[in-house]
């Protein structure tokens, strides 16, 4: 019989005006992986924050190894053996691996001096024990996200954590890195740790779960061992309705070439990239993280520099020195990093939506407020942004709705070509589907879309044609009929290079 490491009973939590969690029961056994899934806003984060001591529950009790405890702070959680690895890692870029591993609990010598020797020893020992070959002096800023994650796991291990919570750890790492992570998880599991794993990626969930719990509207809808679930039942329980596996893809007649990029090279590490996009087409860009897709798109949009290459829009060569040029050419881009490049969080929806099209509402520099309101309301309704009013701060909206605000911003421009870089990253299933629908509607209106994504199923589902990039070059081009995960992965790993 496996011991139960962590158990919460009848946990409830309310925020002003809403019940975030209602009578939630949840437990983790030793040596097992318990996957928690649910749409954004279902209450997963709230539950995890309670277990990690960031929030205090209004009611219910928490037991660790059968003992009733009160987790009053993340520090307390750490002492009780709970470690959380956040989806978005916060780290101090200039710290080294060894410094960060023991941050806040550096061993001391006399006069409060830090005992670096012991730190080095312990670090090397830990790295050896975990079979990792990091240099303890590497600075965190030089590590990839997956390495940073691994470091967080190491930290948890070095603190003797029994319960490790991972919040969507695979949302921004490559497939190869996911394998490494999963190996580590299997290893931790074998060592008797209890792991809470939050994700909405179905293939992952079914690979690593021992148990699955589904959270919806602040309640645990179902908890069962993995083999009593299948993908369809998980999805329908998550969204509370049956969702077809299919994508809302419709055949649209494809017209002339509207965008032609030739011989693009840039300092961001891509060279000789050439491709074209036709009217009414959704063109995908596949590749592993770091293949240079985002960099090419940023240069095309005028955000980054490039060494060389030409751009033709509707057959005519155009100059793209900055974003303004690009917008004038009818090319807009939705960035992969919404919080950094998409929204101005502390300003309201209205200002965010009109940010790129102020010339439509400011005649001779003067604001036409009523015209602005009605246009913004119209476009937000069309894109289906859910909000109390257009005067609320964008930071208060959910990820999916923030993404829709950015889309609304670009729709006001009525662009011909949209570059969508990871348009569905970090948003829930329902909102994803809406974005796919919107893409279909846009190409039906005769617009063209470049879709960059790391999720192969959505690329295969939505695109008419696909380019695959690896190491800063285009390594393959596929038509819809040729789409398959295997073919794309071969190009993405650059295994099809011709023998010279």
């Amino acid at each position: 019989m496996q011991k139960t490491l962590l158990e919460v009973r009848n946990i409830s939590k309310s925020f002003p005006g809403v019940k975030a969690l209602e009578d939630v029961c949840f437990s983790v056994k030793e040596g097992s992986v318990h996957v928690l899934c649910g749409e954004n806003g279902a209450g997963k984060s709230t539950l995890m924050k309670i277990i990690n001591g960031i929030y205090q529950p209004d009611g219910g009790e928490t037991l660790i190894k059968g003992q009733k405890v009160e987790i009053t702070s993340p520090i307390k959680a750490g002492e009780l053996g709970v470690s959380m690895i956040f989806q978005e890692l916060n780290y101090t870029p200039e710290m080294t691996i060894e410094e960060s591993l023991f941050a806040g609990r550096w061993p001391k010598k006399s006069f409060g001096r830090v005992d670096w020797k012991t730190i080095r020893q312990k670090t090397l020992q830990l790295l050896k024990q975990e079979n990792l070959s990091y240099d303890p002096e590497t600075k965190l800023k030089d590590l990839s996200i997956s390495n940073l994650q691994m470091l967080e796991i190491l930290k948890a291990i070095s603190r003797d954590a029994d319960i490790i919570i991972m919040d969507e750890p695979t949302s921004s790492i490559t497939n190869k890195e996911i394998e490494i992570l999963f190996e580590k998880i299997a290893d931790l599991r074998a060592r008797g740790k209890g792991i809470v794993y939050i994700s909405h990626k179905m293939d992952e969930i079914f690979r690593i779960a021992d148990e699955i719990s589904i959270l919806r509207d602040g309640k645990v809808i179902e908890t069962r061992p993995k083999d009593q679930f299948d993908i369809d039942s998980v999805i329908s329980l998550m969204v509370g309705r049956a969702l077809g596996q299919g994508y809302p893809k419709e055949e649209v007649p494809v017209g002339d070439v509207v965008l032609e990029v030739d011989g693009f090279s840039g300092p961001a590490g891509f060279s000789n990239v050439s491709f074209n996009v036709r009217k009414g087409e959704i063109v995908g860009f596949a590749g592993l993280v770091g293949a240079g897709r985002t960099e090419v798109m940023r240069a095309l949009f005028g955000l980054d520099d490039r060494f060389g290459g030409t751009v033709k829009v509707h057959g005519a060569p155009v100059r793209v020195r900055n974003v303004q040029d690009s917008i004038r050419n009818g090319v807009v881009m939705l960035s992969e990093d919404r919080r950094r490049y998409g929204i101005v969080p502390i300003r309201d929806v209205k200002e965010n939506v009109t940010l790129a099209s102020m010339d439509q509402f400011f005649q001779k520099g003067r604001l036409n407020a009523s015209k602005e309101r009605s246009r913004v309301e119209e476009i937000c309704k069309k894109i289906n942004v859910k909000m109390a009013s257009i005067d609320v701060q964008v930071s208060t909206l959910s990820g999916g709705n923030q993404q829709k605000v950015v889309l609304s911003k670009w729709m006001l421009q009525d662009p011909d070509i949209l570059i969508l870089d990871e348009p569905t990253r970090g948003i829930d299933v329902g909102a994803k589907f809406e974005i796919y629908k919107l893409m279909t509607n846009l190409v039906k209106e005769g617009k063209s879309i470049i879709m960059v994504s790391s999720e192969l199923p959505e690329l295969i589902g939505m695109c008419d044609r696909m380019y695959v990039m690896a190491e800063g070059r285009i390594t393959g081009e596929l038509d819809r009929a040729e789409f398959s995960q295997e073919a794309i992965m071969r190009y993405a790993m650059n295994m099809t290079r011709k023998a010279v």
Binding site: G240, V323, Q324, L355, F362, V392, G430
Partner: protein, 335 residues
Amino acid sequence: MNNLMTREKWQTIKSRYSIYLVLIVMIIVCNLLNENFLSPRNLSNISAQISVTTILAFGETILIIGGLLDLSCGSVLALAGVLSVYVFKETGSLSLAFAVGLIVGVLCNFVNGILVRRFNIPAFIATLAMMTVARGIALLFTKGQNIYQIGDYVWFGQGKIGFVPLPVFFMIIVGIVTWYILGHTSFGRSLYAVGGNEEAARASGINVGRIKIGAYLINGAFVGLAGILLMARTNVGAPNAGQGYEFEALTAAIIGGTSFSGGLGTAGGTLAGAFIVGFLNNIMNLTGVDSYLQQVIKGGIIALAVGYDMWAKVNRTRKTLGAAKLPNERKEAKA
């Protein structure tokens, strides 16, 4: 849901108008402490006293909203002022002197803008350098001597339009200009975006560099004007004038709710902030509070005001994140 909407609305109203509430409470309290406080003469005095720093505060407000800052305004004010006075003494032309004052202010801030934009020097450092340089030039130019007998130049400081002293009149004009720029022009809108998230502004096609330089140029005109008014009010072209005014201006802007992290702030808030400081000084003088103690109290109030603002902000985000996000998402899930 209805309950939630009213709560959200109430919170917006509270955060938007709380500064005016503070102002009103302050007027009531001051009036109780001293019956002369609300006399037209006293109010007119206070307005004239705060006019110069308030004009500077409007400039700082514009800059801080854009994620910038000007530490040099006190020095540039002195440089613009003494050059303006000098030109008046040489030519006798009030309009020429006025123009020179503005131009000097604008030029110095053009340099500030270039340093920040072209050379990527943090605004704090760039304007710190300008603070020293401008003061130095003002002292070099006058050989450290005050310029006396400035004649008709005093009209800028002591003249009246109707019953309104000219400095107060200019303060109102600058306030209206600031209000208009911030709320009704695409420049203002862009400025909030640049301060709120510079990268997102750039990725939305806003020419960030132009906005930043624009903000400095506007500030420059305000600083130049403030220089003219101060020299005229004090009846002397003093190269040492305006020391520490940058902090008075920053104080007014911050108490008025301008967020140091950028992207938030209003002209009305800054005006209220300036009056709060002005009233505070006035009532402490009227009730005979020790002048050294006054400094302590003023500093304490800054810490209190900003502390409250930050505290309210954290609370607000917690509440709205908890309250606004979830119901939205729930609707989405059910849609």
